[in-house]
Amino acid sequence: MNRALAIAVNTFRETIRDRILGVIVIFALLMIVGSLWLASISLGQEGRMMKDFGLVAVSLFGLIVAVFVAANLVHKEVEKRTVYVIFSKPVGRTQFIFAKFLGLAATLACVLAGMGLFLFFADWAVSKAPSAMILAATALIYLELLVVVAVTIVLSTMTSAILASVLGITVFVAGQLSRQALSLTSLGHSPVLKGLSWVVYVLIPNLNAVDVKPAVVGEVAPDWSLVAAWSGYLVAYAVLCLLFASWLFSRKEF
């Protein structure tokens, strides 16, 4: 356990040293310029615009960090041959994959917390009222991105880092279209195609089961029981991906 923790902490330090936190600064600058611009064109709705577009920006910036760092996570260890040093110690492949994931999850938590808090305070300054829903929405974005990280790690064990990054982004986009995949299951009469549609629907991570943005901008309250069920689903999906990545990784010879 201590060994896994050591790998996780090391991964966290390594990614932080890669100036990943610079993303927060870019995000902050973008939000400041964006809010000045939105104030001039939104006819008094700058608070709403800032919340809505701010969360979209959190999601996209987070995605960039998640995918590009996750794709290199395992590759780097293999390329620099540090993996030999690690596996000369009593560390299992599953432990290694989970620890790397935890390290990146901690980095991603810092990045998203930074962006979420900045958005929270910037919105407070603009709207003159705090909106805790921004933080809740950021937490849900974080869970979504953890799934993307896990999927990208699976992909990175099978292919190159660049291809894994591209495929990771593709999976994120496909996950946003999960509902459309569900409607495919009711089209046509062929049982084979229907079966295949179900397989695709279950395999693609469902990243759009809940949208809390309407609640953030004050429209409808989210269904918290669905949010809880979806969170459980995301965690289960991420764990499954990591177990699969571990199995793939265990078949590699070093």
């Binding site: 509902r179 089961a209 459980g232 764990v239 499954l240």
Partner: protein
């Protein structure tokens, strides 16, 4: 032991993932009012993907039609969708033809007619468009005018390549229904000349109903046919039409 635990964790995760997905409610029938951008929007946005966008919308129309015709029977957005597809891909014939019954189902036969006319202007060598126009004019028009309008379209379709053999007969029959007896008689001439045994038999039957019964009047009525047929075929037809008068 460790492997067993991992397998159990994996099984629990699979159950959670599949359980969550299969309990998602099926997508409810969508709102019949769908936002359909103007064709100019796509023409400006992506000229090189014009036909691909049209094809995507065509797939959308088929699903939209199937979803609503079996449900609330509201097809509010069909006209705008068909307009978009045909504007982006004017040579794509199927949406024009589909419009005949889809827009008629949506209670807008005139829109279907206008769209088919636009299709005919863009594809003047395709017989299916004037044929469909004639069909639509006849099924949705009123009085004798509807038969004449239909006949006009069937006549156009008769002159186009690839048209089926029945097209000139249909045109001639429509002319008769519209009260254009003389025109109808003339239409049957080429049908007899070019047609097979069945077409010739139909020609004789139809001319029997169109031509007057009196010998002199009948002789006078068939004179215009002489202009439209070769001499042999004309004489053969005359023999058929006057066989009961030779006594």
């Amino acid at each position: 032991m460790r492997r067993v635990v991992l397998a159990l964790v994996a099984l629990a995760c699979v159950a959670a993932v599949v359980g969550f997905q299969v309990t998602r409610p099926a997508k409810a029938a969508g709102d019949p009012r769908v936002f359909v951008p103007s064709p100019h929007f796509y023409e400006k946005l992506s000229p090189s993907y014009r036909t691909s966008i049209a094809d995507l919308y065509w797939l959308g129309i088929v699903q939209y039609y199937g979803e609503h015709i079996e449900g609330d029977r509201r097809l509010d957005s069909v006209p705008a969708m068909l307009d978009l597809v045909t504007a982006l891909s004017p040579r794509f014939i199927e949406p024009y033809l589909f419009s005949t019954f889809a827009l008629a189902d949506a209670g807008q036969p005139q829109t279907a007619y206008d769209l088919l006319e636009r299709g005919y202007r863009a594809n003047p060598r395709n017989w299916r468009l004037p044929y469909q126009l004639g069909f639509l004019a006849y099924t949705n028009g009123k009085g004798k005018e509807k038969a004449l309008t239909a006949a006009r379209w069937f006549e156009i379709a008769s002159g186009l390549p690839g048209r089926p053999a029945f097209m000139p007969r249909l045109a001639a029959d429509m002319l008769r229904k519209g009260g254009e007896r003389e025109k109808a008689i003339i239409m049957w001439g080429p049908i007899y000349t070019e047609g097979d045994k069945f077409a010739r038999q139909k020609t004789v039957e139809s001319l029997e109903t169109l031509l007057p019964k009196g010998k002199a009047a009948r002789m006078k009525a068939v004179v215009p046919l002489y202009q439209t047929m070769p001499k042999d075929a004309f004489q053969e037809l005359l023999a058929e039409l006057f066989k009961d008068y030779v006594k």
